[in-house]
């Protein structure tokens, strides 16, 4: 297998982009990545696109070919990858495997979701199709509902508090203020989170990530060719993916995502590192409780101590292990299929030292963690500055 490097990244503004179409968004992210890599589009060999549900959101399937067409990249192979909210992370992993295998050299991993062309109730219903339709949604479960079940159980087993969950939102909104592409540039307080309208208690509106339009793109190359394009190529040294039962009730634990622990184990092993070696991470904070569980499952703190370490500031920029410096799904926004790629964009910018006011000093190794549904899919990547 060959070593794989990221030579270019691009991302759109995240938000309610009513004036921009699906096609315009992906072209904008792609053009920025091509410009960043200083590569000629003609050199690109293949593309993977993470997209959860263009069929439900814009009534358009077959978006792999659509994007290759509108990007002027035909006839290169273009494959859409779906794993609910982990679609982007899975697309990245497919691109990594393709470059590592030697089948192609220059491969695009893109992610996109256009979610605001439908009313929010329709968008909620579309997202719920990532849960078990027959045995969860049928009885009245929603996504916030499933994560609220995890939150309640986490509170019961470990004494996690609603205040500690709120602190995730406070930190991620704070970080998003320094990220030009973030959906929100708005600080929130613990009180504001606690007093926001109930969604599914114990989760309130400000515990939940928003509905977002956005696209992101990275360009991968074999490490030995990367330096021709970029002075600071970032290596992807580990990739891991795992599956679990699609329904939450079929899993032995409600307070740990087994797909995350398994994907992390594989990614750490491949990269030859452990949690203590990671300088910063983008984790899948679709709800505040999800970030607490993720930092535990990834090994950044002991099981049950996610709330405590968050409260003590260890996950803030400047803390022991900065988490979601981009603002995360909570502050930056969560265009589901784009999220896994957007996480990679943030880690690359951080490891290059290009993250501006949210820069983590001396960051050398970063991690990205992307989850599908309530934990049926998880994918983890480890990145390293390639000096």
């Amino acid at each position: 297998m060959r070593d794989v490097a990221v030579i270019g990244v691009g991302i759109t503004k995240f938000g309610e982009l009513w004036d921009v179409s699906f096609r315009e968004m992906i072209i904008e992210a792609g053009a920025r990545a091509i410009e960043d890599a200083k590569i000629d589009g003609k050199q690109l060999d293949a593309m993977y696109v993470g997209n959860m549900s263009s069929g439900q959101f814009i009534r358009q399937e077959h978006t792999g070919a659509l994007i290759a067409d509108h990007a002027g990249l035909v006839p290169i192979p273009s494959t859409r990858v779906e794993g609910a909210c982990a679609s982007g992370g899975l697309a990245l992993r497919q691109a990594v495997i393709t470059v590592a295998s030697g089948i192609h050299d220059f491969v695009v991993a893109a992610g996109i979701e256009k979610m605001t062309d439908v009313l929010s109730g329709v968008a909620m219903g579309a997202l719920a199709t990532a849960a078990d339709q027959e045995w969860e949604v049928y009885v009245g479960a929603t996504f916030p509902g499933l994560y609220a079940l995890m939150a309640r159980r986490h509170m019961y087993e470990f004494g996690t508090t609603e205040e500690q969950m709120a602190m995730v939102a406070v930190k991620n909104h704070q970080n998003a203020c320094f990220n030009p592409c973030a959906q929100y540039h708005m600080k929130v307080t613990v009180d504001a989170v606690l007093n926001s309208p109930p969604v599914t208690l114990p989760l309130k509106l400000l515990d939940c990530s928003p509905i977002t339009d956005g696209a992101a793109c990275v360009i991968l190359a074999p490490a030995e060719k990367a330096r021709k394009f970029n002075d600071t190529p970032i290596l992807i040294t580990g990739t891991g993916q795992a599956s679990d039962s699609i329904s939450l009730h079929s899993r032995p634990s409600l307070t740990s995502l087994r797909a995350t622990t398994e994907a992390a184990k594989a990614a750490y092993k491949m990269a030859g590192v452990g949690p203590d070696d990671i300088d910063l991470a983008e984790v899948h904070d679709c709800f505040t409780i999800a970030e607490l569980m993720a930092i535990e499952d990834l090994g950044f703190c002991k099981k049950g101590e996610g709330g405590k370490v968050t409260q003590e500031g260890e996950t803030a920029i400047g803390g022991r292990i900065p988490i979601n410096t981009s603002g995360g799904l909570k502050g930056k926004g969560h265009p589901v299929g784009a999220t896994g790629i957007a996480q990679a964009v943030e880690i690359v910018q951080q490891l290059r030292g290009e993250a501006g006011k949210r820069q983590v000093d001396g960051a050398e190794i970063g991690l990205a963690h992307n989850v599908g549904g309530s934990g049926g899919t998880a994918v983890v990547h480890v990145f390293k500055r390639g000096d």
Binding site: A128, Y138, G140, A148, P198, V199, L201, L254
Partner: protein, 132 residues
């Protein structure tokens, strides 16, 4: 939801029929088509579960799933049945503030929700607190 899709699951939803593996004796709900532990050497047969269990976790839904708008606030829960498997269900006929982890529940038959397009009323199971 299309009528045949609903009709296919009626035995499980109305009578709590799951599966039991004749090889490892594990009881499963919802029903499965292959035993995840034994795979090809497993032998699944229908198994009627005892409608009793305990609340493992619960959440109070204020923003309803589509078709459940008339029921808010409703309690969503994961219940561990006495036979072992867990299921997701609503806890019905109670003040949402009463429900606690560990509470005993009985699984009862109730109207679930309605879907306007085909006018079909959907039925299934809900949990009901067993008062000591």
């Amino acid at each position: 939801m299309a009528v045949p899709r609903f009709w296919r699951e009626i035995p499980s939803r109305y009578n709590l029929i799951g599966s039991r593996c004749g090889n490892c004796n594990k009881v499963m709900f919802p029903p499965r088509h292959i035993c995840p532990h034994c795979r090809r050497i497993g032998k699944l047969e229908p198994y009627k579960l005892k409608p009793r269990g305990k609340v493992v976790s619960y959440a109070i839904t204020h923003v309803a799933a589509n078709g459940f708008e008339d029921q808010v606030p409703y309690v969503l829960a994961i219940v561990e049945l006495e036979d072992g498997p867990r299921l997701t269900t609503q806890i019905t006929d109670c003040d949402p503030a009463e429900v606690k982890i560990g509470d005993e529940v009985e699984i009862v038959f109730r109207r679930m929700g309605e879907e306007g397009e085909d006018g079909v009323l959907y039925y299934g199971y809900k949990g009901k607190l067993v008062k000591p």
